[in-house]
Symmetry: C2
Subunit: 317 residues, 2 copies
DNA sequence: ATTTTTCCTTCGATAAAATCGAAGCATGAA
DNA sequence: TTCATGCTTCGATTTTATCGAAGGAAAAAT
């Protein structure tokens, strides 16, 4: 009994894309191929990884477990290829892990700062915990995310605030015009795309809605903020994003501002494995927010999730 | 450009076995298959992974890098298969990581204690750092090793001493008899197999040799202690091992005791991700040494490499 | 209620790959 | 030199992956 990594790779793409059809498209093969290979994987493991739901598929419990491993495995594979393919070139690399929930545009803005230093960014996405583990193992230089590292985690990493980014509600074309008048009360009943409930910003927005007696019609919830905005682009609903990205949001998602959400900020963090940043690329990233959105003053202090004075080792008796 | 994981797997086995021929044997395919597939991998990466040396092969620099990744990738694959294949059975699992330097017999003795609890041990080997990372991610319950977790590590883990194991010099057949008389001075000039210099026991032994003006003839150095003893079995030289294993050493390695090394002990450690052990299997392992070699008293205190009072987080301003 | 559309799956033929036998080529030992 | 060992190359063969065609089942549209 041996694991077939090609099957696993197909499984991984399907799980990521959420559909056999899209996975087949991305892989450049026919759907029935993908379907068949996954069937073989399930047979060899003796467990079903997907269960039919509607006309689509959802991961089973075993599937979720497998996805966790697959993420790690193929992240390593990519990293290996990166390290070997042009590792000879040895240009200064900046290995960045990007959390799903972080808007891609924010990530771009942050990493862009390092490009000026003729750094070659190598970006990976993945589950928050796995990215932190890679950080601890020095496979990544920094992780960009929307929440500080969990205090309960077993990894000793350091969270650096990238400041507070004011949040604005956007809408594509007609939507923006329709709800701009009478903001924010106009949002009552308005179609809205929001992050899923495990997201910090979602909590703050819900609170703000409640205190203003606004009950939006939540037409979609997304873990991946890029996906959220892509749906927003189609006019499915209004959506939140940082004020600082207004230009980019207009350009890429064809959306205009509806109104500023007062008192609600999104927090972004750069997580490093060292308290004291040494990598020039990471330093560049940390210096971004002060130039970007901080009319309100410098809000970039360092939060450590660990006591630094390590080594409470008791010798033996 | 896409990494072919089957090719990588062949590369991995060849690198581990040190020879295409043996790898082919282990994989159950013809040598020219293995050779061909590795050639394709090298072509797709644009780098040679093996260089000919004599009539064999050695890893190139790129090959060593690739091996590091491959180790991780296929360890994950194994773990995934383990987790899924009979995960349904959900017998209590005890996932143990075993450091290379730990004698397999010691590992066996320790894990054996958990078997009484009808635990199903799942053992992995690997580089120390990688095992610790797996521990921090809760993919392993405990790591058994010959040194405490590095204080400098970015992982928050706890090292529990498994006591001090007195060390004895062993030798197979004739060797033992030849050097037993006049021990320890007889060791001067004696052929000796020792751990590599990065090993803690090696340091202590060297010190003891020096203070007794003994200069053994070091005929071999090994990272893997099982390999060391296997060579010892052939009569290549004397070798050190814990006294407590005398019976096993005699049985498996056909070697008798030459003499006790006074004042030199080997330290073993169980590393866990929690300060307070909860897993009954891990508890069983921790209780072993007291029953095994401690006429000299109980020497099982807990060493933490971390201050426990976590959460030195500074809020934002 | 029915049709249509959208997905996923199954079946058998076809294309691609991995594999193996045979032969060749180096290196170190006899 | 000759032999033994270990890796590689070449072409035939087997195994595996892939795709066209057809079918079924759930949601959306009528």
């Amino acid at each position: 009994m041996n694991l077939n990594y090609r099957h696993l790779q197909y499984f991984w793409v399907v799980a990521k894309e959420g559909s056999v059809t899209r996975a087949a498209e991305r892989l450049g093969v026919a759907v029935q191929t993908v379907s068949g290979q996954i069937g073989q994987l399930e047979k060899s493991l003796g467990r079903t990884l997907f269960a039919p739901q509607g006309r689509g598929l959802v991961l089973t419990e075993a599937g979720r477990i497998a996805l966790g491993y697959a993420d790690q495995i193929f992240l390593l594979g990519e990293q290996m290829t990166d390290a070997l393919l042009d590792g000879a070139a040895e240009k200064p690399r900046l290995a960045v892990g990007i959390s799903d929930a972080l808007p891609k545009l924010v990530a771009y803005r942050l990493i862009d700062a390092a490009l000026g230093l003729s750094m070659r960014p190598v970006c990976y996405e993945g589950k928050f915990e796995n990215l932190l583990a890679d950080l601890a193992l020095h496979r990544l230089d920094v992780v960009l995310t929307d929440r500080p590292a969990d205090l309960m985690s077993n990894l000793r990493v350091f969270s650096h605030s990238l400041g507070e980014w004011d949040i604005m509600i956007y809408g594509s074309g007609m939507l923006a015009g329709r709800f701009r008048a009478g903001f924010p009360q106009s949002l009552d009943g308005a179609p809205m795309l929001l992050p899923t409930r495990n997201n910090a910003l979602r909590g703050r927005l819900d609170q703000w809605f409640q205190s203003n007696s606004i009950r939006p019609d939540v037409v979609g919830e997304f873990e991946d903020s890029a996906l959220l905005m892509t749906f927003g682009r189609t006019g499915l609903g209004l959506f939140p994003a940082p004020v600082a990205l207004a230009g980019d949001v207009a350009e890429h998602f064809n959306a205009e501002s509806v109104g500023l959400v007062p008192g609600v900020q999104e927090h972004y963090y750069a997580i490093s494995s060292e308290r004291r940043i040494r990598h020039p690329g990471v330093e560049a990233i940390l210096s971004v927010p002060r130039n970007l959105d901080s009319e309100a003053g410098d809000a970039s202090d360092i939060m450590s999730n660990q006591l630094e004075k390590g080594g409470g080792s008791g010798g033996k008796g």
